[in-house]
Every structure is written in C-alpha cells, then in structure tokens.
C-alpha cells in the first residue's frame, strides 16, 4: 500500500479537531470529508489526495466515540493513520468499520518520516518502507483479533472462531 504522508508532528489529535462537534448531525460521508481536520488544518481538504496517509504522535483520535472521525478521514482519501499510539474508540471504529488502517509506529519512524515522503506499508512484513528516503522501519504487528477483522474487511464480515 503506497501513498504520500501528511504529517502532524504533535500528540493528542482529538476527535474535536478531526471533525468538529457542529458536524455530528451530518451523516453524509462525502460532506463529512469536506470538514475533515478542520479544527487543526483548514487546508487539509484541499491538499489531501486519494491514498494519502496521516502521520502523527501519541494518542491519536482521543476524545469522543464519533465514528464521523475515521469516516471523514477515510472519505477524504486517507488509507491509513500512522501514529505512536491511538485512543481506543478511534482505533476500534477504524478497524471494525473498515474505514482505514491504524498503524502503530515507533519513535524512529515518527521522527524520520517527513511531510510529503512516499511510503509503502507492507502489512505482511510489519514494515514501512520510506521510498523517498530509501529507509525502512518496523510497525507494531496487529493483535490477533484486529488482524483477523482487518483481513475480513470489518467486524460484520468477521466470523469468530
């Protein structure tokens, strides 16, 4: 999975900036996408391209349970969020709804990958290849259940053993 990185070098990107509360009444996915990241980066909608990744720090997606957050990012074209860690509801919404991949990275990847870098995420090898910088980093493997739900294509397609 190849794409370019949009980097927010900060911790605690919360759901209120990913999709502000005034849009919670909106359930049109395309409309939600036009307001993605509005609380932090009003230019996000004009710069994001299909297949891009977001790279950020700790506790990405903290705050509310609004599924609007992964929906707005996913329908903006974001295929994965790479972060040092994730808040739990954002993480499970992303996976169970099959909106995007939440990928936990280490400090090395976080510091090294820059805005605009092209990277290739190799889930099978748990590796991130930075094609721009010609370097590789480890990603944290998904836990067993998360891996299975992702492979199935979301919670509704997952068949428990």
């Amino acid at each position: 999975m190849k794409g370019n990185v949009i980097k927010y070098a900060r911790d605690n990107i919360d759901t209120d900036v990913i999709i502000p509360g005034q849009y919670l009444k909106v359930h049109d996915y395309a409309e939600l996408a036009t307001h993605a990241m509005e609380g932090l980066d009003p230019d996000f909608h004009s710069k994001v391209k299909e297949g891009d990744f977001i790279l950020s720090g700790r506790n990405f997606g903290c705050g509310s349970s609004r599924e609007h957050a992964p929906i707005a990012l996913s329908h903006s074209g974001i295929k994965a969020v790479l972060a040092l860690s994730f808040a739990r509801i954002f993480y499970r919404n992303a996976v169970d709804g099959a909106f995007l991949l939440p990928i936990e990275i280490d400090q090395d990847a976080y510091s090294d990958i820059s805005e605009g870098d092209q990277i290739d995420i190799d889930i099978k090898a748990n590796q991130i290849n930075n094609l721009t910088k010609n370097k590789s980093y480890k990603m944290k493997p998904f836990s067993e259940i998360i891996g299975k739900i992702i492979e199935a294509g979301g919670l509704f397609k997952y068949k428990p053993d």
Partner: protein, 423 residues
Amino acid sequence: MNITEKILARASGRQKVSPDDVIFANVDKVMVHDVSGPGVIKVFDKLKKQGINVDKLWDPTKVWVAEDHFVPSADKVSAENIVKLSNFTKQYGIEKHFKYGMGQYGICHTLSHEEALVLPGEVYVGGDSHTNTTGALGSFACGLGHTDVAYVLLNGKIWFKVPQTLYFKLNGKLPEHVMAKDFILKIIGDITTEGGAYKTMQFGGSGITEMSVESRLTMCNMTTEAGAKNGIVEPDQKVVDYLTSRGATNISLVHGDDDAQYEKIYEYEGSEMEPLVAKPFSPENISIVREAPSVELDKSYIGSCTGAKYEDLVAAAKILKGRKVKIRTEILPASISIYKRAMENGLLTIFLDAGATVGPPTCGACCGAHMGVLAKDEICISTTNRNFPGRMGHVESQTYLSSPLVAAASAVTGKITDPRDLK
C-alpha cells in the same frame, strides 16, 4: 478477579478471564442517541446493500434511545435526525425512547441513572464515549462507535479485550469545598489523557464509600478523558437505594474477589485535595484554582452529563444564593427529572435571581453544537468534560473545566475563583 473481570467473565460464559483475553461479551443494555442513532441507521443501510438482514433487532426491550445532542432541534438537519430516530424506534419496536418535549428526557448518561436503565453487574454499551459514566452503578459501561453499536443491536454481543485495571484509592472524605470533579481532574492531571487508555479505572477507598452515587458518576464519567475503556466503583447499599427509589427491582450486586488483581494502585488523601481547573486545551492541563491564570471570563456554563446532576445544581445554588453573576451564566439541568426537582426545591429561583439563564437539558453547548457556543477569543469556565480546541465553539475560544462550585464562584467574580475566597 476484580469486578470488571467478573462481569466480563459472566457475560462471556467463562469461569475466568484475565487481562488481554479477547472475548465476545453478551450485552445487557444498549443506548443510542440523536447522533449515534442516525449513524447506526446509516450502517444498517450499508449492511442492507451487502445483503445482511437488518429486519429485526436482537432484543428491542434491551435498547433505549435518547434525544440529547441537537435538541431542541438546532436546525433542519438536526430536526430530520429526530424524525429518523422516531421512525427507527417505531420500525424496530423500541419502547424506551425518551423524546424531547414529551415528559422525561435528557442527556443519555443522566437518564441511565435517573431512570435506573442500567443495573449493577450488567454489560452496558452506548453510542457515546461518556457511556463510562454508568460504571458508577457497579456495571461494565463502555462507549462504542456506530458500527459496533449496530453489531450489538443485531447480534446482542460484542468483542472486548479484557482490560488491565488501575485502582484509585481515596482515603478519607473530600473537604466541603472540593467535589468529585476536582478529584477526577487531579487524577487525569497525574496520569495524563492517555494514562488510562484501553484500561479500567476503578475507584475505591473510604472517600469513595463516603461519596454520593452522583459524585461517583462524575468520577466514572471523566475516565473517558483519560482514555479508559470503563470506569467502575464497587456497588454498595447507596447504589441499591438510589436505583430502588427510581423503580429498579431484582438488583444483584457483583463484587471483586478478595484476591483481585490490579495493574497499579494509586492512593490519595481526601484532606489534601484542592479545587482545580483544567486549563485550555486539555483535561490533563491542571492548575490549583488559587494558582490559575487571572483571565477575564466571558461565560460560566453549568451543564452536561458531567456537571448538571441534581447535586451539581445544589452546589451551584449554594454559591449563587443571594449573589449576582458578573458574566453570562447558563445553567442547564441534565434531565427533566432534575429540572423539576430543582424547580420544586427553589434552585431555579436562586439561579434566576442571580441573573443566570436556565435552559432545557441538552448536550448542545458542551460539544460546540448549538445553544450557547463560544465566539472567537471568548473564555468560558465550564462544568463539562472536555476543553480541546474548538470543543465549545470557535477554535480560538478557550474553556477551563471545573467543579460546579468553582464555576458558580467564578460566575460571581468574572475570574477563576476558589469558592472559599468569595466574600
């Protein structure tokens, strides 16, 4: 096993569970509101297109619905959502639908305890992050997104990874000028907004035993702000009495074993606690009120599931009685039952005489949606739960989180004020 593990073991049909076990838990109660409900309807529409049967819910008697975020309807879109929600409950035969303008209604987390909708030992999930609130009744209460709630509505179960438990022990009563809100802010300041992530936050000790059920609800409510999966307190007679007085029957309590395990135990002395605020822009950004910045406030907000329960209003009234507010002050009881009790006991008169505006139950201003949003550069002190950028309005507005005592004292002076320092 501790109480959370025992509830999850029972719900998953196992003798024993341990942290990090992945289980499918049978759910006892599920809630949606006017934001997550239309979200679930959207998921159902998607499922239908995929050929998945969504004709019947697993058990409509275990489902209840609240109208709280965008009521009174803020605009046409939110009015449409209320219509959608009504059609949904009619179609699926959900009888517990608390409608705005038709008797008891209010914020979902407030209804869960005011209406005794959730009982000790139950697994309760809701389409809202502050579902954690209800763990104060000795239940496993956890917030989920639309897809997960849709899954529960159709299947009656959901997967969980059994959490590690952090135990917070409060030795001795909190002083009179300190509320549960101050104590939970203290904890979040200590462990950060990520400190409880994926975990259970359990509260105990003599200070928690002394606390009212409503104060325990405040504690569990804000475990969400530390990232926790659930907050919980071992239930006692106070919980039984509280629920029985609201019509609950067949209450059976689940308790942790004597040899229950906790990942970490934190101890606090009640007598050492101080009134606190969380400064912009994070609930972990804590300051003692007496050391808080000397900012000119524009508004005091006493509302939400966190800070507009009956005892929260009593605390505010204690301060506002015979005084006048110096800044815009909005007081919104969290449910109609609380509103009525506040009226019958003279609290609303105290608020109105002080110059405050009293509004109907809604989540509106707490999440920056409607009915009291902040303008650019406005500064608010609020009894709510979050103060991220733009949370209560303009992205360049600011919110200080506090107890109702501090919010009311600050309303009187226009500055962040310790209730002990009021003349």
